[in-house]
């Protein structure tokens, strides 16, 4: 079974939101509010329990004579955000019930029938992806279309994308494609094109990579995502020291008391 990934190339994204709709349709995720945000053309806001794909709209001031594809001026860019399916997934590590599992495709999957709604995964996600459904408290996020992949189909978002901005395939092939693509974009003059693939941090790489222009933070992609468990050693050590000091203090207090009580 191939280990798979998404490669979302924002230089090809036209902001049509077909991925958002296809995701909701396939997975039966319901509408989550008819609220106009006024934030460019984005009325979805962010990835959450009821939005598993989200197209981010980043507006910069355009100039006549430069379309958004001009190397000199990236005026309005779109990027479809999704669960990163981390190699070292904070949510998975935090889940106390075993509801969150890693699938044979490398994705991170929340089993809705096991999730008890404790919410540990929510705070453990370095990307702010997992969220609890306020109705029943369970956590939801992108399933990596596990059901579709099981029968050899592409995830719904990748299937619906008209411009092949969302690519899906074997992870190492995609990674190589991504590097070649960034090089090609840079050769075309887009010096700010870069690949977002945090292999250097503790998440150890993701199954959702992104090609963006400029600072990835503009697309809600943290520069140095870390799995919370890397802080465990430090936290446990600090706790141990703290406990030892407390214990010592307490003992010392009792020892110091002893002569007086004899009096």
């Amino acid at each position: 079974m191939a280990v798979t990934a998404f490669l979302t190339d924002s230089t090809l994204c036209i902001g049509c939101k077909a991925c958002e709709v296809a995701c909701k349709e396939w997975n039966g995720v319901s509408e989550d509010g008819l609220d106009w945000s006024g934030f460019s053309y984005d009325n979805t806001g962010a990835v959450g329990h009821s939005t598993w794909r989200h197209v981010k709209f980043v507006e910069n001031a355009p100039e006549p004579g430069f379309g958004g594809n001009a190397a000199e001026l990236n005026s309005w860019s779109f990027s479809s955000d999704v669960c990163k399916h981390c190699e070292n997934a904070g949510c998975l590590e935090a889940c106390p019930t075993g509801a969150i599992v890693r699938t044979e495709f490398g994705g991170v999957f929340v089993q809705p029938d096991i999730c008890n709604g404790c919410g540990y995964c929510v705070v453990a996600c370095p990307f702010g992806v997992v969220e609890r459904n306020p109705d029943d408290g369970r956590a939801f996020k992108c399933t990596f279309c596990y059901d579709r992949q099981k029968v050899g189909l592409k995830p719904a978002c990748a299937k619906a994308c008209p411009t092949e901005s969302i690519k899906f395939g074997e992870i190492e092939t995609l990674r190589a494609d991504a590097r070649a693509r960034v090089e090609e974009l840079q050769q075309r003059g887009m010096d700010d094109a870069n690949l977002y693939d945090p292999t250097e941090t503790s998440v150890g790489g993701t199954h959702a990579m992104f090609i963006v222009r400029g600072d990835a933070r503009a697309y809600n992609l943290p520069p140095k995502p870390e799995v919370p468990t890397i802080y465990l050693k430090k936290a446990w050590t600090a706790s141990a020291i703290g406990a030892a000091v407390l214990l010592g203090g307490t003992l010392a207090a009792f020892l110091a008391e002893r002569p007086r009580s004899r009096r």
């Binding site: 049509c16 909701k24 106009w36 006024g38 004579g65 379309g67 594809n69 005026s75 092949e164």
Partner: protein
């Protein structure tokens, strides 16, 4: 295109990835601009200035594809000496009748052309909508015209064109389109350098060009540009009309328009077209080119309509055909409806209460009907105008007093029916029903078939002469299933055509006969169902890059029309890189990558015989435009366009400036339909309406919203009406981002949320800063996402040739805050707002009447 045709836009993206340059010309910076290399913002409505300047750039810099222009266009043709250009007559061509407000095209004809006899020229009829046939040149007989292949003669089309566009300069573009000169020159250079033997450039447009008071002429300017650059009939070239939604091309081909039959055959007009088939054919047949078989096309159509009842003796039932008696275009009959001249109306696949101009008039007119049938997947605003329209809320319409009986029929959706789509490149694609429609929902074919069957049954009982046509009409489609649905493939078979004697499917257009031995529902589609069991529209085995084997492209599965132009006059390709079809010397036939759109064995060195030849053979071997009587592309259209043979810049009917080129402000032949219920601002510089308004669509919603505002997954993506304004305009009038704005025109006031964005830019027009205001028009008073009806702001107007309204450029005012009275979920207006309202006269008259006895009281607070 990325906004409204995201799926089609994937090919533009692919071209971009292979190195194509994308230029986007749009007043706003849209999702398309975001994918383009060059964005050219211009003043809405100044398109002919811009395109005309591109034409002028080509001509003054000798960038034209010379050999193509000399041989394949009418550039060398010499015009009459009494032809006067708009440059001579300050914005009018010769032949203008100021009293009748129409042109006589007599002086526009070619110098040596014999004028066709006839009181009214084809294409110039008062009642016509101008959709039929090839549009143009019909006022003259084809002959060996005077031409000058050196193109030096001052009266030849090439020289006339040069003079006509000589004042369309980069400076003019900078001053009146608001496009900086360097941006214009960069664009012109990019576009023209992508043309020639080795390269081609394509132009895609949509209703941003058509929905103007001179929309046809905007597209004509693009055609001139593409012909000069040799970009027609060649791979990668062309002008592609991106239609408003799926299969608009198909609905034009098989004609939902009032003045044409399937295959662009003109409807006979009352009076103008006599009652004899022979004379109708004489008027519309052209001796040379594909239209020389006009008689075969119309007679085969009549045989398809009337079957055995159509005989030579009764003119194949020609007199059973209804006649066009006036302007029956959408606005023509809607104004009639408003004036109480119509009893009933079928509305199918349309939501005019939201989607059509001057919404208040549209909805009010519905109340004058006796009955209204709406077929749709949801209850649209059109179906419920009597209950919750803004007019009802304002008290202008009172439900208890509306006598219109509304029948709402549930319609099947796209996936719930079989049939074909025809897309912009004339490709027919068949799809099968995926699921059964729920409940009582039925498809259009079912509805029309059974409606027709019942009407015919009724007519059978009354053999009055008026029913003769109905009684003769063939209506015998095989039905199947529980609901007795007609089989769509059988309809397609009839459209394709068959021989009458043995019902054998016809494989090719050239099989159509003029003696009644063939029947064909739409001659251009002939070949789509060539054998009893072969539906080419349903084939899915592409063999090559052009897609042969996938669907069927009319005519005769040619993927690129007029592709003879992709080869030199001698039959060899212009270049190896851009080869498409060519003459095979050994086999003595046209061959290539596409099906040749030319007579297969007509050698390139065959001389033309325009004086006495017949059909395509008369064109000789090197006249690729086979639908034109002279076989060449028309830079200049000798007749058939009601507003002139060449495109001329006119300002929109409401404009911010005076026409910088001519005293003639507007397209003289455009109809404003100005009346108290369809008022206008002053034609330019009206101080009440200082801003340019343009309307458009968004990716997330579809046209009038019936199919998207009702779907939660789409409604949530663009849940509310908003207006896009520049930060400069917001500053100037105190608009707050996220707040509310009132937008007013002479017709109405609506409210919208404010989206302040740098993607809107003020433009410098004639030294003044001009603001443009953008409004997407999807919302209405039903569905999940509601909002004011933007089209209430528009005026009903008619472009002279196809009678389309001007939606893309008009004048408005904008003020912060909400409007006085609420509709569609808006809060109840305050006392103060109520006081400030003045009721229209007829409302006050209505109020003066005694109360309705059985009514539960007025719904209004007026």
């Amino acid at each position: 295109m990325a906004e409204n045709h995201p799926v089609g836009f994937q090919w533009v993206m692919e071209a971009r990835e292979r190195g194509a340059k994308i230029i986007h010309v749009d007043p706003r910076f849209t999702r398309t601009s975001a994918m383009a290399d060059i964005w050219v913002p211009l003043r809405a409505g100044s398109d002919i200035l811009f395109l005309g300047a591109l034409v002028n750039y080509v001509l003054t810099n000798n960038k034209e594809f010379r050999e193509y222009v000399v041989r394949y266009t009418n550039a060398p043709t010499i015009l009459r000496d009494d032809f006067k250009d708009t440059e001579d007559l300050d914005g009018l061509f010769s032949g203008w009748d100021a009293e009748q407000k129409k042109y006589d095209p007599g002086t526009w004809l070619y110098r040596s052309a014999p004028r066709k006899d006839g009181r009214e020229f084809p294409g110039h009829a008062e009642a016509g909508g101008g959709h039929g046939k090839d549009r143009g040149g019909e006022a003259q007989e084809v002959t060996n015209f005077d031409w000058d292949f050196s193109m030096e003669d001052p009266q030849c089309v090439f020289q006339v064109l040069k003079r006509h566009f000589s004042r369309y300069t980069p400076e003019m573009v900078e001053g009146y389109c608001g496009v900086p000169k360097d941006v214009f020159l960069k664009t012109a250079e990019a576009f023209t350098s992508a043309s020639g033997p080795e390269k081609t450039a394509a132009i895609c447009y949509a209703v941003g060009w058509t929905q103007h008071s001179k929309g046809v002429q905007i597209i004509r300017t693009a055609a001139i540009l593409q012909l000069l650059l040799g970009n027609i009939g060649r791979p990668g070239g062309g002008i592609l009309a991106l239609r408003g939604h799926a299969s608009i091309q198909g609905s034009t081909d098989v004609s939902t328009l009032y003045d044409i039959f399937p295959g662009y055959l003109p409807m006979p007009f009352f009076g103008a077209d006599s009652h004899k088939l022979k004379e109708y054919i004489k008027k519309h047949r052209v001796r040379i080119g594909l239209w020389s078989n006009f008689d075969a096309y119309i007679i085969s159509l009549l045989k398809a309509y009337y079957g055995d009842a159509a005989t030579k003796d009764n003119d194949f039932g020609f007199n059973w055909l209804p006649r066009v008696t006036g302007d029956h275009s959408h606005y023509g009959y809607w104004l009639d409806m408003q004036d109480g001249k119509m009893e009933g109306l079928f509305v199918m696949g349309q939501n005019p209460a939201v989607g059509a101009a001057n919404g208040r008039l549209e909805r009010t007119a519905l109340s004058k009907l006796k009955w209204l049938v709406v077929r749709d997947m949801v209850e649209t605003e059109t179906a419920s105008f009597w209950l919750d329209s803004p007019e009802v809320k304002r008290g202008e319409l009172v439900p208890e007093k509306i006598a219109t009986e509304v029948f709402l029929f549930p319609a099947a959706g796209t996936a719930e029916k079989s049939g074909t789509f025809t897309n912009t490149q004339r490709l027919l694609q068949y799809r099968n029903k995926a699921v059964e429609a729920p409940g009582d929902s039925r498809n259009e074919t079912w509805f029309m078939y059974h409606l027709g069957r019942r009407i015919k049954e009724k007519a059978k009982r009354n053999p009055a002469p008026k029913n003769a046509g109905l009684n003769a009409l063939t209506w015998d489609y095989p039905v199947e299933g529980e609901h007795r649905e007609p089989r769509v493939e059988d309809v397609l078979k009839e459209i394709n055509g068959w021989t009458v004697s043995d019902r054998k499917q016809l494989p090719h257009i050239q099989n159509l006969k003029n003696d009644g031995s063939t029947a064909c529902g739409a001659w251009i589609y002939c070949g789509v169902f060539p054998e009893a069991n072969r539906n080419r529209a349903n084939e899915r085995a592409p063999k090559d890059l052009l897609g042969h084997g996938w669907g069927f492209s009319w005519p005769n599965d040619c993927r690129i029309i007029y592709n003879r132009a992709s080869a030199r006059p001698d039959g060899t390709p212009w270049s190896e890189r851009k080869k498409l079809v060519w003459w095979d010397k050994d086999k003595k036939e046209w061959t290539g990558l596409d099906n040749p759109d030319y007579k297969k064995d007509l050698a390139p060195d065959t001389p033309d015989n325009l004086d006495s030849g017949v059909g395509v053979t008369g064109l000789g071997g090197a006249r690729p435009f086979t639908l034109h009587s002279d076989g060449v592309g028309w830079l200049y259209v000798a007749s058939g366009l009601k507003d002139g043979p060449l495109p001329t810049h006119y300002e929109p009917l409401e404009s911010v400036v005076k026409n910088p080129l001519y005293a003639q402000q507007n397209d003289p032949a455009a109809q404003k339909k100005e009346r108290p219920d369809n008022p206008y601002a002053e034609s330019f510089g009206d101080p009440r309406y200082p801003y340019v308004l343009t309307t458009y669509r968004l990716t997330e919603q579809h046209t009038a919203g019936g199919m998207t505002r009702t779907l939660s997954h789409l409604a949530e993506l663009q849940p509310e009406l908003f207006t896009e304004v520049s930060p400069e305009l917001a500053d100037e009038i105190g608009l707050e981002h996220g707040g509310w704005a009132r937008i007013s025109t002479a017709r109405a006031t609506i409210e919208a949320r404010v989206l302040v964005t740098r993607r809107m830019r003020p433009l410098w027009i004639n030294g003044e800063r001009i603001h443009q205001v953008g409004l997407p028009y999807h919302w209405g008073y039903k569905g999940k996402a509601k909002g004011d009806v933007v089209n209430d702001l528009l005026a009903i107007s008619e472009e002279p040739n196809v009678r389309i309204m001007e939606t893309k450029a008009l004048m408005c005012s904008v003020a912060p805050g909400r409007r006085a009275c609420g509709t569609g979920g808006s809060p109840v207006p305050s006392e103060q707002d109520q006081d400030s309202l003045t009721a229209p006269d007829f409302v006050r008259a209505e109020q003066a009447k005694p109360p309705v006895p059985h009514g539960s009281g007025r719904l209004t607070w007026l």
